[in-house]
Symmetry: C2
Subunit: 306 residues, 2 copies
Amino acid sequence: MPHVTLNMVARKAGVSKTTASLVLNGKADRLNIASGTQERVKQIAKELNYQPGHFNPGRLNGKTGIIGVVASQFSSYPNNLWFNHVVTILQLNKYVAIPILLREETRTLNNIVAADGYLLLDEKAVSLFEKVKNSDTKAICCGFQTEKEDFKCIHPNWRDMVNEMVAALYQYNRKAIGLVTKDSQKISTQTIINTYRENYCDRFDIQENICYISENQYTSEAIAKACMSLVDKGVNGVIFESGDMVQKALLERNIRQLLTTRKVLFACYGERPEFNVFEQDGLLIIPENIEAMAQETVNNVLKKTT
Amino acid sequence: MPHVTLNMVARKAGVSKTTASLVLNGKADRLNIASGTQERVKQIAKELNYQPGHFNPGRLNGKTGIIGVVASQFSSYPNNLWFNHVVTILQLNKYVAIPILLREETRTLNNIVAADGYLLLDEKAVSLFEKVKNSDTKAICCGFQTEKEDFKCIHPNWRDMVNEMVAALYQYNRKAIGLVTKDSQKISTQTIINTYRENYCDRFDIQENICYISENQYTSEAIAKACMSLVDKGVNGVIFESGDMVQKALLERNIRQLLTTRKVLFACYGERPEFNVFEQDGLLIIPENIEAMAQETVNNVLKKTT
């Protein structure tokens, strides 16, 4: 079955494309189009099962009907998952997503397409995007908290995430819980550390076991070593600050063996394809619920633009 | 530094946006714009370091400047990698990519955006796309061979891939090579089977060791069992028809142990994030070279449209 276009409806009804459009958009009465013509167009549209195209900037009163989705890359987790959900939700809202890649190495700033709003998928893209945004540009960060001002951010609730990780480890009777985290002042990291202290150490009167990884030694070896030092101290459940950190740790064979023997359980938030393989072996993954966050983000960006 | 717009140039030069545009697009002489005005506009554009926007459908002589990228999802490998490369290359060619999700369950056919050409990322999207395409729609399949006619396909050279896998296994002295493959009539599968027979079994006079997985038992258990049956027959190098198959096999712990003990080496083509963890343990991965294929695909789709 070929796609039914407005043109096909108009031709079969013997009217112009404009007339057909006016009738099907409910504007015919205002313009004194004969009621017989109106009926005929509607009948034929029904017969042909005509579905008006979704992307219809005209309907938007001067808006573009476009939302720019900005990232330094679209192929890595969680950007790819965010992108997929955002495109789905925008399509359902009759908007078109336009992917915009911003990278230092290319003169990509000229590629910013005019849009009603922008969704930013990663921190790398934020500083480049800042150079081109105006004061009235609607821009929302998806899944992370930038330190730049003027950007609304929809991100996971890190406090809840830590509580869920502690609960998951408890469920498997792993009550000696340590934390491996970056040595960072970022809000997300600080929230995770504070929640671990307050809702686990203080609450159960347990001594804290935190290993800090500095930014300049963020390697799989360093992370694996930090993890092992916790295990040597008797820790049997390890919370990692991020999925990225677990992924790096798992590159080390001794860490993979910890999981296989189930001597220790790991917990992190954020799904990744790599984790499917290990989930059954003792990697507890708290989902980020990107789909719900994407819905919230799209609601936010469309609020101002419709 | 804020992004310099055409408007800013026009305002500073004291001319209209139209005049500024005509001057900077080299059309001023034809329209008798005073040479003093021309000089002033050019000088100010230079001072402000004005970079004209890339997305400029007007320049394209009636073309949209848009390439639709069609998929049933953008979040899984290799679709996400294809998408990333394609967006990059299209941006460099001053085209805009518009992602189009086509899925059975939603009435997505109305979401097809008019474009100069379409790139299809997966087979699932092809049959839905077929319903909306016209005879003159330029559409190219990225990375796979569809059985539908009328679609040009840019895909890996499976023959070369098998030869590279055999060579990689030989390099590690694994000369008893078996093949795990789907029981399928698809061109890709048949090419892989034939190459294994001709360039390995026949050439070295070795008996073939093929395990076929039928479509309706395509589970990780079945694949793991097939793999184990080959190992029991003395196979020490296993070629898998696809990365997807290896990923499923690795969900089984006994298969992961085969790798860790390096009793057997696995080979497949196509990178996946899951494989990073196992690569050092004896998983030989022949890259698909998606970036080069994406370049070829974009060259092809733009050929007819520029």
